[in-house]
Symmetry: C2
Subunit: 248 residues, 2 copies
């Protein structure tokens, strides 16, 4: 299995994702929110790049069936039902509904990965389940870290490193790419004090100082939600539901 | 001194470089070639983004006074005097002449850094001299790694990490940014076997398999050329010459 890692999503070409399993990582907070919403019974998540696209999709849906969620630069969008805190996406709020989801970094990364054979959402919450899928599928792998403010972010790099560490059973192959080597090295360096390393990330500190320490604590829980958000027909659903749809 | 690091140059804004000391790192091979050419007596290096710009500048110069140098995707450009191997930029070849220099990654990074207070070229060859300048200038610092093929490259990350290690006397401050932390961690991890770590970089392997192992070996020599390529008026000159020009 060939493995490539993008530490930011700024330039990913079709060739980098086509026919591959692609994992998009945006730990704080888009991908953690997507995993949480699907775990809490949302029918699907429709990732969109801007407010115009969100409005267009919403206008074709029954008003009771969807919610508008998302953020711009960390803040809830005016008029939206939900922001980008995973803790808002409770069963009561999202159960049975479609979430039209508009975020700064995560949506861009998902959009670039659309030509993938399998497109998954990866976080600390579901890292184990993602690694299990990657192994079973057997395709070459591309991990795309969304990053933060157009920069490489430590939390996404560490999450990529964790997945590589598990895929390689803790032993990095000689042939690892530069970026895989960097993510693996960082995780190996920090894994015995992972929570402390994550709490010091620039983005975690920014969220904490803006009243979202509870989100940070929530998103850093390793393997707490073993769900697999899977992309198909312009939306994210649970992989198990995808299997049911294909069988029927 | 505030320090920010970009592990690729894909998105760097004016705000990220203005009023700061900015170091552009492209170890293999543009920045190493620039340092070598200036050390060997080139009058100046004019970095350009494409062949059209190179031709336009050349058309205003006396034919004996300049050389066209550079590469596209690692290969010499047809009709150019020189490619991107530092070993071509000998005293005999470049002494007293201006080099119009056209490269894939390095030039883009230099162009983004133009609003800087001080813009320097950093490599393993001149890392010590660069760190000395950063300390003396005292401005906030931005390091921009050019990367390779739009990705984070290990050699540029390690060179940034080396500079941080020296600036911080081997002790990373708590306040380090995510990217500074990643570069520092990688260097600290690899510093006792630095040459081996660098020889395994994707770009080093590619150059080696394309007949340029001698370039790789040359570029990885730590502190071998204590020169300071400095940007002023759309060209790179030795910092010492810049001082003379300002004084006169």
């Amino acid at each position: 299995m060939k493995i490539e890692v993008f530490l930011t999503s700024s330039i990913v070409s079709e060739e980098d994702v086509k026919d591959r399993t692609v994992v998009v990582i945006d730990v704080l907070r888009a991908c953690s929110t997507i995993a949480t919403a699907l775990n809490n019974g949302a029918r699907s998540i429709v990732p969109v790049a801007d407010m115009a696209q969100a409005g267009k999709i919403a206008s074709n849906l029954d008003q009771q069936s969807y919610l508008l969620g998302g953020e711009r630069d960390g803040l809830k969008i005016e008029g939206y039902h939900l922001g980008n805190s995973p803790l808002e996406y409770t069963q009561k709020m999202v159960g049975g509904r479609t979430v039209i989801f508009n975020t700064t970094n995560g949506t861009v990364a998902i959009d670039q990965a659309r030509p993938a054979e399998h497109l998954l959402i990866g976080t600390f919450l579901n890292a184990g389940r993602v690694v299990e899928f990657i192994r079973e599928a057997g395709n070459d792998l591309t991990i795309i870290c969304a990053g933060w403010r157009n920069r490489v972010s430590l939390e996404d790099t560490l999450c990529a490193g964790l997945m590589l560490y598990r895929l390689w059973d803790g032993v990095e192959p000689e042939s690892a790419s530069d970026t895989a080597h960097i993510a693996f090295t960082q995780y190996d360096h920090d894994r015995e004090h992972l929570t402390a390393a994550l709490q010091r990330c620039n983005h975690a500190r920014w969220l904490s100082s803006n009243g979202h320490q509870d989100d940070v604590d929530y998103c850093l829980q390793l393997d707490a939600l073993p769900v697999l958000p899977y992309y198909r027909d312009s939306r994210l659903i649970l992989y198990e539901d995808e299997r049911v749809e294909i069988a029927s």
